[in-house]
Amino acid sequence: MNSWQKLACAVLALVLGASLAANLLAPGGYAKQYREATNAPPSHAHWLGTDDVGRDRFARVLYGTRISLLLAPAAALLSTLMAALIGGLAGYLGGTWARMAMAVTDLFLSLPWLFLLITARALMPLNVSPQVSALVTFMLLGFLGWTAAARVLCTTAGSLRSSDFVRQARAAGLPGQRLFWVHVMPNLRPVLYAQFWISIPVFILSEANLGILGLGVAEPMPSWGSLLKELEGLVSVGEEPWKFVPLILLVVVVTSFQLLLSRQEGVAA
């Protein structure tokens, strides 16, 4: 681990720690509306000012970070597992299975992603708590985000299938599912790691994008998406620089993930 990566680790730890301690750092909570002080600049009471309806931006950043930083890895895990199962298994079984899985993947890739998410969200029951909506949003992202990785895994698993060691293991009498789990899967691990680490920033950004469309995490719960939405229509940086804190935080966190990712790839190689 080089010093940059140490720094990245420290940054992530700090951000995660602060967001987990949100209750202590911002006791006012993320939903309280200080209606007499809307759109306020930073002050002692509100370190990052307040938003359009007078909610403390610092509290919202902390709680939003908690949501994005906890749920994005969960979604990444889901999509990685799905990619492993669908891509890996299809590749390992080969033939018709691989063709079918690739057809499904192609279909998934060609589907209008955003439209699908919007439809999926529209089909959800209306009375769900913001917490559940946050969870569902990220799980949807995870559920839809497996395709690209599945392609890679399918090809990798396909080449593993005809590899000497799988043939050797078959000749030793191992049953099919042992071959898959014991011999194929461990060799997909580097790809899976990469997929997992890449997905985290991707999902954070996707939720931010959905949030900008008003389709992410439900009010009053904050997420990086809803915080970034404030930047919409902001004409110049100089005007209200504190509004950029969520953006800077997003960039810093995503960069940190990238730095760690390059380390993971180094290990895998």
Partner: protein, 280 residues
């Protein structure tokens, strides 16, 4: 070779194989392996040796390779067996050792895991039995059976060690037949002779038959009882090692002989014959 053993036929095959959309790779190949014997199968690369080995183990992709004929092994007809029955046979009654130990061992798994999986494929015993079996098989190939060694990954071993691990894995269940497909071709000369010696010892001590496949006539000479020559999908000649070296009948065998380095075999009489064949 006792005459009693000679009469016991372990495997007798007569088969043709063609891959989808291609000329047949094996054409009515007839092969007999007797209990406890070492049969060499020699042919240049692409002649169909591996295909034959795979066909015996039932490992050819059924959709892409069409196999016809019979393979009698012990009391069963292999081509009639279900995948399930074949699996029970693989590694237990018939084992395989592949050419390159580095690619035949899973790079992502520890030696222990790979041996354990091989053992568990045919044994229901607990961890102690497993550990004992692993130890015994490693000892039989003269490898250390300690924890440090078992924790190693293939990349942390020498090629020779890795090949021994493969052989240990193959002999774990005391198969009646071991198929070594170019098991020594990728090795340097010294390791090659060590492994050859190991095969010979195992053959002697356990009495398992070996189908020793190689493209190199020289390497089979020292170990095989009999040799079959495979040329363009057909067995063109089959006889005892002495016969083959002394009186190669087929033109192709003669050419193979001619290509041999002269210092081999050790028998000067044979060498003279070989030179004579080469001169012709």
């Amino acid at each position: 070779m006792s005459s009693a053993r000679q009469n016991q036929i372990l495997l007798s095959a007569q088969l043709s194989v063609r891959y989808a959309g291609k000329q047949p790779v094996l054409r009515d190949v007839q092969l007999e392996i007797q209990r406890g014997e070492v049969l060499g199968l020699v042919g240049q690369s692409g002649s169909g040796k591996s295909t034959l080995a795979m066909a015996i183990l039932g490992l050819l992709d059924k959709k892409r390779a069409q196999t016809e004929g019979t393979i009698r092994f012990q009391d069963s007809e292999l081509l009639q067996l279900s995948e399930h029955e074949l699996r029970a046979l693989r590694g237990r009654a018939v084992a395989l050792v592949l050419q390159s130990p580095l690619s035949a061992l899973n790079p992502a798994l520890k030696i222990r895991t790979q041996l354990r999986e091989a053992w568990r494929a045919h044994a229901a015993g607990g961890t102690t039995e497993c550990a004992n079996a692993i130890r015994a098989s490693l000892q039989s190939v003269s490898l250390p059976a300690d924890d440090e060694f078992l924790r190693k990954y293939p990349s942390q071993m020498s090629v020779g060690q890795a090949q021994r691990v493969l052989i240990a894995m193959a002999v774990m269940h005391r198969p009646a037949l071991l198929i070594a497909d170019e098991a020594t071709s990728a090795l340097d000369v010294i390791t090659q002779s060590e492994i050859l010696a190991l095969f010979r010892d195992l053959n002697r001590s356990t009495g398992m038959a070996i189908l020793y496949i190689s493209h190199d006539l020289a390497s089979v000479a020292g170990i095989c009882d009999r040799i079959a020559i495979l040329h363009r999908g057909e067995i063109v000649e089959c006889g005892t090692t002495e016969q083959i070296f002394a009186h190669p009948q087929h033109e192709y065998t003669q050419r193979l002989m001619a290509a041999l380095p002269r210092i081999l075999p050790a028998n000067p009489q044979l060498q003279a014959k070989t030179e004579a064949a080469a001169a012709r």
